[in-house]
């Protein structure tokens, strides 16, 4: 899922301050799971903003709504009436959701309330870790299901480096060495021979280095 973190109240206050009628729009999928922009976070942030502006002697009308997904037109439509009643939208979705809303409602300012952080997993309640960079050329089959692109600080294709210490990374001793994990996992799978093969330098053209990417599924395009 996409993991995000809500912006600070000070930053949100700055970006919403020109507006008098604000829709705080949540997203009920990824950012809900990471406690950044679901229904609960919409309610808490809206309440905090009302208190903040009232304390400052300013009046602001805040409407609250959460749609299932802000990155799909089908769900965005549900927000159309609420958006039309407000002068700005504070979106608590990831960057894709914010842009999808902005694209559909060209005349309404759409403001981000969340910093989109990474693609990751919920490791345990309240702990999210980065697992994928979206490089566009997945080689997890070679590496036993542990990604050196996202989890090795040096993105080594043929590791480990000399900085691996007792299973930890020299960049941050709290971070597990991805290459240690690759070797442990491949050993358990009986596939350690995978590492006898040289992995050529990664072709980053399939990643964001090639500019914004597009995926077309002709079989679904009408």
């Amino acid at each position: 899922m996409i993991v995000g973190k809500q912006k600070s109240i000070a930053e949100i206050r700055e970006i919403v301050s020109p507006y008098k009628k604000l829709l705080v729009l949540g997203c009920g999928t990824c950012v809900k799971t990471c406690f950044a922009g679901g229904e609960d976070e919409v309610a808490t942030l809206s309440s905090a903003l009302r208190l903040l502006f009232k304390k400052d002697g300013r009046s602001i009308y805040i409407e609250e709504l959460t749609v299932e997904r802000q990155c799909e037109d089908e769900f965005i439509r549900e927000a159309a009436v609420a958006i039309s009643k407000n002068t700005a939208v504070l979106s608590l979705a990831c960057g894709a959701g914010v842009q999808a809303i902005a694209r559909r409602f060209a005349n309404v300012p759409v403001l981000p309330g969340v910093n989109t952080t990474f693609i990751g997993v919920l490791e345990k309640q309240g702990l999210f870790t980065e697992e994928c960079l979206g490089c566009g050329d997945c080689q997890l089959a070679v590496f036993g299901g542990v990604c050196p692109v996202s989890r090795c600080a040096k993105k080594l294709q043929n590791g480990p480096c000399g900085g691996s210490r007792i299973g930890k990374c020299e960049i941050n001793p709290e971070t597990d060495c991805a290459w240690q994990q690759i070797i442990t996992r491949l050993t358990a799978l009986g596939q350690l021979d995978n590492l006898r093969k040289y992995n050529p330098p990664k072709d980053w053209r399939t990643s964001h280095a090639g500019g914004p990417r597009k995926l077309v599924r002709e079989d679904h395009v009408i």
Binding site: S47, A48, L51
Partner: protein
Amino acid sequence: MIKKIQPQITLFYCINAFNDRASLSVLSGVAFELKTVKMACSSMVKDVFLLRAFEAGADAVAVFVCPEGQCRYVEGNIRAKKRVNFIKKLLDEIGLEGRRLSLHNAESGDTENIGKIFRQILSDINDMGPNPAK
């Protein structure tokens, strides 16, 4: 003559920790307005409920929980503590002062402790003044 406005306190309490409103009689004669919200477990105190109590005009909000290790639902009081700490920080960011929100271990019948808690809260309100977002 200007009528002095009484401080408003909202109390959220876990019924397993404290379910004896009679214990609050220790506060009779103290001038303040008290709203109470009882919960089956203190873990039911969501972030937004605490903030909405301030929106509704509370000058201070208190949460009564079971002592650590004694929650009937194992970790409800720990969750409540974490939420209270989160909202205290948020109140500081807003400029309302995190001190307006507090969490306490309180047991029914322990009138001495309850009296002490409320006197401290009222003293804090006196220092901070009324909720500026009223």
